[in-house]
Structure formats: structure tokens, C-alpha cells
Amino acid sequence: MSSYRHVNNSARGKMSKRRMKLGFNLRSALLDIAFGLAVVAGLAIVAAPRVNAASGAEGLQTGTSTDKTTLIQYAAGTLAVPFKAIDTAFRQEHPNVTVQAQFGGSVKMAKQITELQQPADVLAVADYNVIPQQLYGHNGGPAYANWYIGFAANAITFVYTDKSKGAARINASNWFQVLAEPGVEIGRSNPDTDPSGYQTLQMLQLAEKHYHQPGLAQKILKNAPAKNIRDTETELIGALELGQIDYLAIYRSDAMQHHFKYLQLPPEINLSDASLANQYATVSVHTRNGDLQGRPIIYAATIPINAPHPKQAEQWMQFFLGARGAATMRDNGFVVFSQPIASGAEKLPVGLRQLVKPWASR
């Protein structure tokens, strides 16, 4: 063995020296590469915030090839089911367009565009007022949109299950008595952050007037304490199904899409009838965003000013406001307007103008 090693040693002595030298070069080369990478990484990190802020919108476009477009949608959570169906149908007619939709609370979706500077082609919210409030640019801030189209109405109702307390007795005329019974647990969404939260409060006030029952709202809200509140009511659906709560204030569209039993509340109180706007405006509820007057629940959509794909967004909007979009919305429990109504109509894209009428003429 030892002789073998000796032979090996002498035979390869020269080579191993050369290798050592190679080893050294390799090492310094590696160090050079590492150092270079560190410098590049450092520069990239320093430069990154500015580059991102400047070209956030373009960044998404360059990610896709030239003829394929990704349409970016932000929409109210209640619109998820119909929008997914409409997006699928739209893609069949426009195979080069992929629709990427994100759903959540209306205010949160608006803030994706304003606060988080996310590029967006379509924004659809559950309360038309969110668009002028959040996107029109107040106090010298930048404007992100300057028109909106009201396309459908929804209604506030209460859903329940067979296990709910009083489920066997409740109907459209005694509901406010059952909901006020001791031990009933009612879920609702946060009136400070979510439209359905304050719309529930407005509906209860309208009910107080409509049924001539002073104190009705207070009695029912006693069964809907803070522990039964979430930032959006759909987060409480699990709790309703598990019997943690008995009733949940929610939009009629959600009630129908989830196949829940729900109360048939009259249009005088359920905020679904745009022609009763004056009557709804007689009530007002206090939130951290100030006192909010009752208004019909009108869903609205816009194409933001900085939309990366305005042409495709306009095509989508035409499809959505057309017969197929309207039918899908109706199937999912929304009240669809015979003709959508536009605010800021003079700023609408040309392709959308003949589809709508001005908001005021309603």
C-alpha cells in the first residue's frame, strides 16, 4: 500500500501543485463572483423601491407576452360567484385575455389601488359611494378614477338555518320580535369598515319606522354584540352553520348563492329599491367615518385612470353590462337595472356611453 501511495505521490506531484494553483484561482474567482453579486444585490435593493414605484403597472404587462393580456379585477366579495362565471364566458369570446380577479371588502379593494398602488383594470364595489370617496382624489391627492356605472342593486336580509333559535316560528311579519328574544345570537359585519355593516344598522332603523316599533333596533342589536362582529359578514357563515350564531345579516345575493333560508323583507326597509332613495335617506347611523345616511345598495364599477389595459377593460365592461352579464347577475340574486346608470357620464369611454343613462335621470 505504502509503495503504491509513494508512486502515486511522485507521479502526480507536479500536477497537484498545478491543481493547488488552480484551487487558488478558483477561490479568488469565486470570491470575485460573490463580491460582484453582493454589489449587484446591494444596488438592486437600493434602487428597487424607486423602480417599483415608477413602473409598477408596466411590470405586470412585461410579464405576459404581447398578444396575451391579463385583465386585473378587484371586486367586492359578494360579486365573486357571478364575476367568475362572467369572466369564464368572457374569456371564451376573447381567448387572448386572461382575467385575474381578487375579491374582498369594497373599501379594501379600493385601497389596493390607492394605498398599495396596485395596477387595476376594473374595480367593482358593493356601494357606489366607495368609488368617489376613495378614488376621486380628495385634499389634493391623486385621482384614480373619475366615473362609475351603477349596474345592480342588492338587499339586506337575515339568513338562518334549521338549528337557529326560533327558526320554526320566524316569518316576514314577526322577525323583529324573534330576533329580539333573549339568547338569540345575531352576527353582522363591522359598520366602521364594511358597507353591509352600516347598511344593517340603517335597515333596522327603517324597520323601526316601518313597523312603528320604537326601540326595535336597540333590542335586536343587544343580541348582536361586538363578539358577533367580523370585518365582513361572510366570515361568519361558518359560525352560522356550526350554530355559534343563529342569524346573520347579509346580502340577499349571498343568501341565495349559499342556499340559506332568508327573510323576505319589504323594499321599504331592505335598501334594494333605487326609487325609494328619498325614504332611505330619512335614517342615518353613526360610524367612525361619520354619520351615514341610508342609501339604496347600488353596486358600481369603474375602469381606473391608470388601468394598464383600458381597451380590454372596456370590452369586459361591455360584455358585463350586456345581456349575458345581466342574466348571470340576476341568477345570483341581484336586482339588475334595465339600463345601467352612470355618474360622470361625460368621462366614460366612448364604447360604454350608449349602454348607460345618466345617474340623475333615474
Partner: protein, 278 residues
């Protein structure tokens, strides 16, 4: 480097490589990772103004939410340590297939989406749930209460406790315990005098990780308790109500509080204090 070379030359090569450059090379990925962790947090912190930080720190609801988070996470870590350490000891001291299965179950909460974890807990701890219905007559409810916050935190964070403590116990030479047994020490004394002190760092690391995971949890907590608001929920709530400026200021406040509790705990780990010599 595939050519055959002499063992001696290779050894010399390797040693030189290791001695002179490996440390520098190791610092590169290490530094990159540190930058990856610190840069986003530092950028967020540096974007704050003192005025905003001071004004959110003065808000009562912000203070109470941070205090609630710290309190619940600390309680979670204590419960996790009390329940998790014995289990970790048994897992470290047994090698059968049964304990491997238990280890897999302990890891499960890490794989469950947190909203789903919250719903699963509601199944059991809700007012119609197995345990929830049982405890409600005694005034212990988990819906919208601190107890609910703690069980949600515990569920998602306890794997960190069990795993860290298990590794701590596994690193203790079992022969030490066997010697103690032959010298006449009863099993519990062996656990208390030998296993526990030697695995102390593993256990404390588990406590810190559990605390950290618990204080950051939002998904599971939100299902059981949105009110009273923990700090992560408060941050989200303020973001929805006012915007990024105030909510990120609260986030920085929470980071400062969390970091200081970390430092205290780390100091505690590295101190020489152990349960056998108080």
C-alpha cells in the same frame, strides 16, 4: 475536480479553502438572508414619522390591543411549555413507529390553513361544540373572548414548542439518564434533574418560537375573536379605516414590543439559570 489526486494534496487544498475562503463564502448567503429579513422591516420602520408613532402609541385602543396580544401570546407560550414539554420528552425517548406517527400529528397544525384551523376549533369550542357546550355553564366561553384567542394561538403555534423541546431532549445523551437510574434515581427525578436542565435551551427556544408565532397569528384568531382586537387585527382594522400610514405605525410599534420581549427571552436562555439550580 473529478481527477484523482493524492489524499494529502487534497487535504491541503481543502484545508486552505476552508480556512481562507469558506468563512467569507458562508457570510455571503448568511448576509443575503439577513438583508432579506431586515430590509423590508427596516424600510417600513424608517418610513414612519415620530409624530405618527407617538400619536398611535397614545391611542388607548392600540395600547390595549398590543397588551392583549403580548398577554395572550405569553399565556399561550406558558401553556404550550407545560403541555408540550412532557410530550416532547416521551417523543425524544421513544423510537417506535407509534411515536413517529404522533410526531406527524403534532406537525399537522403547520399544514392547516389558519382560517380552517379556526373553523375546526369552533367545531369543538363553539357554543354548540363538544367542549364549548360543556364549559359554557361554568362561564368559560371561547367566542369573542381572551380564552378563544389563546386556544387559536395555541393550536397554530404548539408544534414549534414540541419540536424544539424534542430536539433539546434528543441531544441529551440517554446514557446519563441510565447512569442516574442505576444510581437509584426514580424516573421523574431523572427527567427533572438530568433531562430538563440539559434540554433547557431547546425548551426555551420552543417557548420563544411559540410566543412569536402566537403574537403574529391573525387567521385562526379572527374566526373565534375579532373583538377584543389583538394587535394584528387592530392593524388590519386601522388599515381598512384610515390607511397605510397609521396601520404601519402600529405594526412598527408591535415589532418594537415583540423585539424587546425576544431580547429578554434570549437573554434568559443564555443565562446560566436552570430549573435545578434556582
Amino acid at each position: 475536480m473529478g481527477e484523482p489526486i493524492t489524499a494529502a494534496a487534497r487535504e491541503g487544498d481543502l484545508r486552505r479553502m476552508l480556512n481562507r475562503s469558506a468563512l467569507a463564502l458562508l457570510w455571503f448567503p448568511g448576509g443575503l438572508l439577513l438583508a432579506f429579513i431586515l430590509l423590508p422591516l427596516l424600510r417600513m420602520a424608517s418610513a414612519q414619522t415620530w409624530a405618527t408613532l407617538r400619536s398611535v402609541a397614545a391611542m388607548d385602543d392600540v395600547r390595549s390591543s398590543i397588551w392583549l396580544s403580548v398577554r395572550s401570546a405569553a399565556l399561550t407560550a406558558v401553556i404550550a411549555a407545560l403541555l408540550g414539554t412532557p410530550l416532547a420528552y416521551f417523543l425524544a425517548r421513544s423510537s417506535g413507529w407509534f411515536s413517529r406517527i404522533i410526531e406527524a400529528f403534532v406537525d399537522l397544525p403547520l399544514a392547516v390553513p389558519h382560517g380552517v384551523a379556526g373553523i375546526a376549533l369552533l367545531f369543538v369550542f363553539g357554543r354548540r361544540g363538544l367542549i364549548g357546550a360543556m364549559l359554557a355553564p361554568y362561564g368559560l366561553e371561547f367566542w369573542g373572548t381572551e380564552a378563544g384567542i389563546v386556544i387559536a394561538m395555541l393550536f397554530v403555534s404548539v408544534p414549534f414548542m414540541v419540536n424544539s423541546a424534542r430536539l433539546g431532549f434528543a441531544a441529551v445523551d440517554p446514557r446519563l439518564e441510565k447512569v442516574a437510574r442505576t444510581l437509584g434515581a426514580p424516573p421523574f427525578e431523572v427527567f427533572y434533574r438530568i433531562g430538563l436542565p440539559l434540554a433547557w435551551r431547546g425548551i426555551m427556544t420552543g417557548v420563544v418560537l411559540t410566543y412569536a408565532r402566537a403574537i403574529s397569528e391573525i387567521g385562526a384568531v379572527m374566526i373565534l375573536a375579532y373583538y377584543p382586537m389583538t394587535a394584528p387585527i387592530k392593524i388590519y382594522d386601522v388599515y381598512l379605516q384610515t390607511g397605510l400610514r397609521e396601520s404601519s405605525a402600529i405594526a412598527v410599534l408591535l415589532l418594537i414590543v415583540t423585539l424587546s420581549t425576544f431580547l429578554v427571552m434570549r437573554a434568559f436562555i443564555h443565562a446560566n439559570w436552570r430549573p435545578d439550580r434556582p
